[in-house]
């Protein structure tokens, strides 16, 4: 146990500190520090000293700052001083060296303290060790990204046969064009104008194939969640391209109804594509399970008011039982034989991370519609 606590100097309490106050604070489950008008620390409670393993004498004044991690030091001091001068409450997180030399994340809340007559006396702060919580949060985030990636991989696998077939279209066109060009060159005089036209077409088909591959690689890449400003219409456009071959194979007529203006939102493009893709693949599955009537899917973007944008994915499937409308977003909820039950829960996680909402409804004419909203990056 570490010695030296305020208890040993009950008669020498500085800065107008009350002995009973110190006694109570020593018994508190958090680490507490007290500073005076000159910003220097004048008192630490027993848990603080136990944590740092240092004596009061070492911690007093600016001594405590020696334990702050060098990468956090400047930020820490800046927050302390600027708030102190304005007499404002502050809250900051930094790494502090423990008695065993390990740096631990600390959540530190500071508030100004005043005498009964209103005289400013300095600050008092309480800190708790949030290291395990932060680690758990980081771990959770890593897991989420991992699961999201697995989900994208599964989506990509489901689409791969259709995409591979779709890639054959530009490749087939390129081959036929090349052979046609060879014939054009054999004529006398050679049909150079047509060859020129053919070469332009070959280039376009090549770009088309490359674009398709790029989209698929985007889905398969492992990414961090990076917020950036993106146009929601672009996201829906890419999904439509990725999805179109699969829709054709499944006999689904896919159409899009998009807002004319740009719809800038702050989100991660790949993860947002994943959300729309998950909703669309769900819808296609829902249509396969029902009688072979007309299978239609519409991807729509629309402004809601001036600062919100909505994306909806509607299908002409069997719809969702009313009592299941909420639970479908729970992890591991699935009605499919081969589903993981993670698609919709991942979609919700991603949308909520971007500050939006996601929900499902049944359409009057039959079928389901999934909607999500996101805040517009630049409200009109």
């Amino acid at each position: 146990m570490v010695e030296c606590s305020s208890k040993e100097f009950p008669t020498e309490l500085p800065g107008g500190l009350d002995a009973r106050f110190c006694e109570v604070m020593d018994a508190a489950p958090v680490m507490i520090w007290v500073s005076s008008q000159d910003k220097l620390c004048i008192w630490f409670n027993r848990p603080w000293l136990a944590f740092t393993g240092r004596s009061v004498a070492q911690e007093l004044g600016n001594g405590w700052a020696e334990g702050v991690h060098r990468d956090d030091f400047d930020r820490c001091v800046e927050i302390y001083i600027s708030h102190f001068d304005d007499r404002k409450d502050f809250r900051m997180q930094y790494r502090l060296r423990r008695y065993d030399g390990a740096y631990r994340w600390i959540d530190d809340t500071g508030i100004p303290r005043y005498a009964r007559d209103g005289t400013f006396l300095g600050y008092v702060g309480s800190c708790s060790d949030i290291h395990d919580y932060r680690e758990a949060q980081a771990e959770l985030r890593r897991r989420l990204l991992e699961i999201a990636h697995l989900n994208r991989t599964a989506d990509a696998a489901a689409l791969s046969a259709s995409i591979a077939h779709e890639l054959n279209q530009p490749l087939a066109a390129i081959l036929s064009n090349t052979e046609a060009a060879e014939l054009c060159l054999k004529t006398d005089p050679p049909h150079l104008d047509q060859v020129k036209e053919i070469l332009a077409d070959i280039r376009r088909d090549d770009q088309r194939a490359a674009e398709m591959i790029r989209h698929m690689r985007g889905l398969l890449r492992k990414n961090e969640f990076e917020f950036q400003e993106i146009d929601l219409n672009d996201v829906v456009g890419v999904v439509r391209e990725i999805l179109a071959p699969q829709a054709t194979d499944m006999g689904v007529v896919l159409s899009a109804d998009q807002e004319q203006r740009a719809l800038p939102v702050r989100a991660d493009p790949i993860h947002l594509q994943q959300v729309v893709l998950n909703l669309a693949l769900n819808g296609i599955d829902a249509m396969l399970n029902c009688m072979p009537r007309e299978r239609r899917m519409v991807l729509q973007t629309a402004m809601i008011g001036e600062s919100t944008v909505e994306v909806s994915v509607s299908d002409s499937g069997i719809g969702i039982p009313a009592d299941k409308l909420d639970s479908i977003f729970e992890p591991f909820f699935t009605t499919k034989q081969h589903g993981t039950g993670l698609g919709l829960s991942i979609a919700r996680e991603i949308i909520e991370t971007c500050g939006g909402k996601i929900w499902a409804e049944n359409r009057l004419g039959g079928g389901a519609v999934f909607r999500f909203t996101l805040p517009l990056a630049h409200p009109a």
């Binding site: 046969a161 591979a164 077939h165 779709e166 054959n168 279209q169 530009p170 490749l171 087939a172 066109a173 390129i174 081959l175 036929s176 064009n177 052979e179 046609a180 014939l183 054009c184 047509q194 053919i198 077409d201 376009r204 088909d205 088309r208 829709a247 054709t248 194979d249 006999g251 007529v253």
Partner: protein, 213 residues
């Protein structure tokens, strides 16, 4: 080859591929008609001239196999060559069973494509010749009187004049006269030829007249 140039009907939803294959076929000396969907082809039927259909198996809306069924139902006789990106065995089996001439994988090389097109055109031509011959024979048979048709049906079933006379309740001499007239009208030089005509027109299978054995 016939006097009318054969037309290759290309049905594919991919505009880029349509253009490319049309260039190749035209540069190889064929006439080409393009359709962006099965419905497009059904709305513009033109089976009069010889030709063949190059059909994409997989299209939005009316797929290749459905189009094949529809064409068969409305008596469209052009041979169909399927083109597909899938190496889908069930689909190819269905297509071939449905009378497809060939089943090619995309991308397809010029040689494979032109060989298949040539085979399809030859079959189209043969089928046309066959139809024409049958048509000519029908015209000949149509010149027979009802009584002669009755006699003809019995003759090709191998009945003797005596039996025919008995069955039709007439004299053997009359049957002989009918028989002579029939052979002349059908331009048949022997009984075997007459039987062959009847077979091709399906007459011996369903004889008219009395059914006594």
């Amino acid at each position: 080859m016939t006097l009318v140039a054969p037309v290759i009907h290309v049905v594919d939803d991919d505009a880029s591929f349509r253009t490319a294959i049309a260039r190749l076929l035209r540069a190889s000396g064929y006439q080409v008609a393009l359709y962006e969907s099965g419905d497009d082809l059904l709305q513009n039927p033109s089976s009069a001239e010889p030709g063949c259909i190059l059909l994409d198996l997989r299209m939005p809306g009316l797929g290749g196999l459905e189009l094949q069924d529809r064409l068969a139902k409305i008596g469209h006789t052009l041979p169909i060559v399927f083109l597909t990106g899938h190496g889908d065995i069930p689909a190819s089996v269905r297509a071939i069973k449905g009378g497809a001439e060939d089943f090619l994988a995309k991308p397809v090389s010029k040689k494979t494509l032109l060989d298949a097109v040539e085979r399809a055109l030859q079959r189209s031509e043969k089928a046309r010749e066959h139809r024409e011959r049958i048509g000519a024979l029908r015209t000949l048979v149509a010149t027979l009187t009802p009584r002669e048709r009755e006699v003809f049906a019995l003759v090709v079933r191998g009945k003797l004049n005596k039996q025919i006379a008995y069955e039709l309740g007439t004299s053997e001499r009359t049957v002989k006269a009918h028989r002579h007239s029939i052979m002349q009208k059908l331009q048949a030089r022997s009984l075997a030829e007459a039987v062959s005509i009847a077979e091709r027109l399906g007459i011996s299978a369903a004889p008219s007249g009395s059914e006594n054995t």
